[in-house]
């Protein structure tokens, strides 16, 4: 028991340490392709450090929900991330390592953030909050289909991560099968939508017509903003870890922990580059084109499902 608690603590510290770097990497790749030097890949860390030290300005209309929301958003993302195995299965914690729990934790965090957006009484907050709820609602069916496919494929009739991970480790040959590729593609689109990246949302703009996530958190400052940023990095890492460890089940080495850690980071890096390439080659969609984007994600996941259960 103590050993597994220690493992959990190590995993939590590890993911907290590595989560921001992938956003830095995406920004760096974008800068390089656009022939800019760009900020260092460690820029997210500097930003976080700065934000933690800053004073706060809180809207005078805000209530306790506004003050609680960043921490709830961060904690739900962190718990969701500790559900997934980074290198090792966390034995002893199967009671909460469940894919549906991850989804509902995200719902929890999103509800708090959306409420916080409305709490300040500003138009931006309400607009962002409404759009964020809409976008994530639209990709929800695809997400559930992926979850259902991977868990029903594992054959144990459960969405528990432990059994799904076990199936992945024992079936490394599924890594580049059509099923996994389809699910991977769909998951990539969900990742883009859920973590507010181009083409669904533009994280670097502050123009009210295009903002989704940024509009919702516009009023935040200081450590509250830092926790929100960190929560978003973690959320991004949850999707990436799911793709890396369950949809590309290769390179598990149980004996040598550092080797498998290296392979894990490599896989995450590949996904990061994919996300950056998508950002570079697309433009932000109109808000009312997002349903089409979500529909494509859904159809791809349906194809994955059908390939898994019917066409095999």
């Amino acid at each position: 028991m103590i050993e597994s608690v220690l493992k959990l603590i190590f995993q939590v510290i590890f993911i907290l340490l590595i989560a921001p770097i992938f956003t830095g990497v995406i920004k760096k790749i974008k800068a390089k392709v656009q022939h800019r030097i760009g900020a260092s890949v460690f820029q997210p860390y500097y930003d976080l450090m700065k934000l933690f030290k800053k004073d706060l300005v809180v809207s005078s209309t805000a209530s306790w929900i506004y003050n609680l929301a960043p921490y709830m958003y961060f904690v739900t993302s962190l718990v969701a991330m500790s559900c997934l195995p980074v290198v090792h299965q966390l034995t002893g914690f199967t009671f909460f390592t469940d894919l549906l729990i991850i989804v509902y934790l995200f719902v929890t965090g999103r509800i708090f953030m959306a409420l916080a957006g409305l709490d300040t009484g500003s138009t931006f907050g309400g607009m962002g909050s409404s759009r964020e709820m809409l976008v994530s609602a639209l990709v929800e069916p695809a997400l559930f289909l992926i979850i259902i496919t991977v868990s029903a494929r594992a054959g144990v009739a459960s969405t528990n991560v432990s059994s799904i991970y076990e199936f992945a480790v024992n079936h490394t040959e599924t890594a580049f099968t059509p099923i996994n590729i389809l699910l991977f593609a769909s998951m990539l689109m969900i990742l883009i939508a859920e973590t507010s990246r181009i083409p669904v949302d533009d994280p670097s703009t502050h123009l009210e017509l295009t903002m989704v996530h940024e509009a919702m958190v516009l009023e935040y400052s200081g450590r509250q903003l830092a926790f929100i940023e960190l929560g978003t990095y973690l959320k991004q890492l949850v999707f990436m870890t799911f793709m890396a460890n369950i949809l590309i089940p290769i390179g598990f080495n149980i004996e040598n922990i550092f080797l498998s850690l290296g392979i894990y980071l490599l896989k995450i890096l590949v996904i990061t580059i994919l996300v950056a390439l998508v950002e570079l080659n697309t433009v932000k969609l109109r808000l009312y084109s997002i349903p089409n984007f979500a529909a494509i994600a859904f159809i791809v996941s349906v194809l994955g499902f059908l390939t898994c259960f019917i066409l095999k």
């Binding site: 209530s63 921490y71 500003s122 138009t123 709820m133």
Partner: protein, 686 residues
């Protein structure tokens, strides 16, 4: 306690409700006393009843009462088995809380309306539901069903001089009688084959399958009308908003669940074999109701209670999905799936009863303090009613299936059931079923996300931000009994969510009776204390341990924040207004605006219509006055009901002058010819 004790206690409860009804009526001169008497008796009776039913479910003693009457076919048989006991438990828990709530809520009707008549109908309404659940004779069932519908009608039209209330009442009574007609037809068909209205006798005789098919469709239509399943839902969004909030809490929390009880009772007792398509049909209409219900709830409402009413349609849809899977599993003789699906159905029934009654009571509390149900006139209530807003927040979280509240666990089990179905049916080669389950799962996922959208809208617009009207500005915390009732409901949401094992243990006793399989090994030992539930197939998650883990993380974050707080300062300042003039409440996002994108995306469903009238001042850019109206169409009413009603009216008009001549001779001839026809029929056929 022996069975006799239980029977005596049960009769005591019935008598207490009757006393409550009568004493309320007799003390009409003082509304205050009348209100207290009716609610106290209802409270005590419901409390006692819930203890009895809990005891009954734990120690499994059937309570039955029989009285013979001289009326043919009608014997006063009451039998409370586990299924009835579970539903009576739901009724009694909800009515207990609602009665407590009514102490305060009814006080704003004092000396304006007749409170004593309300108390009379209120107690009898509760009693009719309890006796309906207890009766084991079809005629008796029908009598109490009609009583329940009629009494609820009287409660719905309590504010009867208002025009919208009258309209809602008319729609409700027409729809409910139509539903009852189908139920009656189904019952008559059953009795035709078995020559008896007694459930025990009927269950022993097999009904031929083609008749069983017709019976099931009739039952589905009849009970579906009461449940508010799309497309026979039309009464629900009218009747729930206009009724007093305690009545809508009872109607939405309990009354519409009676249709689930009726369906389960008839299916498991009367129709021993069911065809696969029954389940498929139920599943499909359930899923459609779920998604359309929540879509209408989010996109086309600014009235809190109407939003909640549509959300009831959605939840009944989810329960019907569970029921559909139950029937599919029953048709394929898979007992594990059957038991899992039945558990999901019953658990969601209970959970929905708890959180939906909480939310309707909340809507009442808002109306009580802010005198409006219109979200566009609310805002900032979290500061005006700080304690009530926490309880209402819990209700919104519970319905959005946020762990650790109770909505989460039933949605979780429903998804597990669907996954189990896919695993079961895929190797058997029943691909059409697999695809059906896939579509249903996707629809339920979208439903779940839209629920969160809708309740963020409800809570965010009415409780957060700045007050949008003077009424919201002057809102106050409601009085103690109302707060306590909200608090009890909210803590029930939490307790049922954190310790679902116990309630699933109870449901296991119910499904064991119907299915002969227990999901849980029912050893109530301390080692199993925290772990939730279904050990079979590695399904064990524990919401309570998850809560503890979240709490630990929250604690660590709180410590970090404490440490950071010492070094930094917090400044309260105005919301950012882009450097222009000060923000005003009208600039906030409105409820209509919040759901606009959804309306546009699903415009086929809503047919939104906007109308912008601008009065120009000095030029096109100097707007003096603007009026923006947005309307959505009730598509189902317009394209399904209106043509049907038109057809009937036209038909009636045409034949009116041919049959209804107004001459008494013609009417006498009708009587006579019918009599002759009947005599001929029986002399030749009978």
């Amino acid at each position: 306690m022996t069975v006799n004790h239980l029977i005596i206690f049960f009769i005591t409860c019935v008598v207490l409700y009757l006393i409550g009804a009568l004493s309320s009526l007799l003390s009409y001169s003082s509304p205050k006393i009348s209100n207290q008497l009716s609610n106290t008796f209802a409270l005590v009776a419901s409390g006692l009843l819930s203890i009895i039913m809990l005891y009954k479910l734990l120690f499994l003693k059937d309570i039955s009462l029989n009285f013979n009457t001289n009326i043919p076919f009608l014997s006063l048989d009451f039998n409370i088995d586990n299924l009835s006991a579970f539903f009576i438990l739901i009724i009694s828990i909800v009515t207990m809380v609602v009665s407590l709530y009514s102490y305060t809520y009814m006080s704003h009707y004092f000396y304006i309306r007749n409170v004593s008549v309300f108390g009379f109908f209120y107690n009898l309404f509760i009693l009719s539901m309890i006796l309906l659940t207890a009766s084991s004779n079809l005629l008796l069932f029908l009598i109490f069903w009609e009583l329940m519908s009629l009494l609820s009608y009287f409660l719905v039209i309590y504010e009867h001089e208002k025009e919208d209330v009258q309209k809602a009442g008319r729609i409700y009574i027409i729809m409910t009688f139509t539903g009852t007609a189908f139920i009656t037809a189904a019952f008559v068909l059953m009795a035709y084959w078995t020559k008896s209205f007694d459930l025990a006798t009927i269950s022993e005789s097999a009904i031929p399958s083609n008749y069983a098919n017709i019976i099931y469709v009739f039952l589905l239509l009849g009970f579906g009308t009461k449940a508010g399943i799309i497309p026979v839902h039309v009464w629900l969004p009218y009747a729930h908003p206009v009724a007093p909030s305690n009545v809508s809490a009872l109607m939405s929390g309990v009354m519409i669940k009676m249709s689930i009880y009726g369906l389960l009772r008839m299916v498991f007792d009367v129709l021993p074999d069911n065809a696969m398509w029954w389940g498929v049909l139920t599943l499909v209409i359930g899923a459609i109701s779920a998604i359309l219900g929540i879509a209408y709830s989010v996109a086309s409402t600014i009235n809190i209670k109407r939003l909640l009413a549509y959300s009831s349609i959605e939840n009944m849809g989810i329960i019907f999905c569970g029921l559909g899977i139950t029937l599919i599993a029953r048709a394929t003789d898979n007992t594990f799936l059957l038991s899992l699906a039945l558990t999901a159905t019953l658990l969601h029934t209970l959970n929905h009863a708890v959180f939906k009654s909480l939310l309707f009571m909340s809507a009442g509390a808002i109306q009580y303090s802010a005198h409006t149900r219109n979200m566009e006139k609310l805002g900032g209530l979290i500061k005006k009613m700080p304690i009530a807003s926490v309880f209402i927040f819990v209700g919104c979280l519970a319905i959005s299936a946020v762990p650790p509240f109770n909505g989460f666990i039933s949605e979780y089990i429903i998804f597990q059931t669907i996954i189990n179905c896919i695993i079961w049916f895929a190797p058997l080669g029943q691909f059409s079923l697999v695809i059906l389950f896939m579509i249903v799962a996707a629809m339920l996922a979208l439903t779940g996300a839209l629920v969160a959208y809708g309740f963020v809208k409800l809570y965010g617009v009415s409780f957060l931000g700045v007050p949008r009207s003077a009424d919201a500005e002057n809102a106050k915390e409601p009085k103690k009994p109302m707060l306590v009732a909200l608090g009890i409901s909210a803590s029930l949401c939490l307790v049922l969510g954190i310790f679902p094992k116990y309630i699933i243990g109870l449901i296991d006793n119910v499904s064991n009776e119907c299915v002969n399989l227990k999901l849980l090994s029912t050893n109530w030992s301390l080692t199993n204390f925290l772990h939730y539930p279904i050990e079979k197939n590695n399904l064990n998650i524990s919401v309570s341990l998850l809560t503890i883990i979240i709490m630990i993380f929250v604690g660590i974050v709180a410590l970090i924040v404490m440490a950071l707080r010492k070094r930094t300062s917090v400044q309260r300042y105005n919301t950012w207004d882009c450097g222009f003039t000060k923000l005003n409440p009208k600039m906030q996002y409105s409820a209509t605006g919040y759901s606009k994108s959804l309306r546009i995306i699903f415009r086929g469903l809503f047919k939104p219509n906007r109308d912008l009238v601008i009065t120009e001042g000095y030029g096109p850019y100097y707007i003096k006055n603007g009026n923006y109206t947005i309307t959505t169409e009730k598509v189902i009413e317009k394209y399904l009901y209106k043509p049907f009603i038109k057809m009937i009216i036209n038909f009636s008009r045409k034949i009116r002058f041919k049959i209804q001549t107004g001459s008494i001779h013609a009417y006498l001839m009708y009587f006579f010819s019918i009599l002759i026809l009947m005599l001929l029929y029986y002399s030749f056929m009978g």
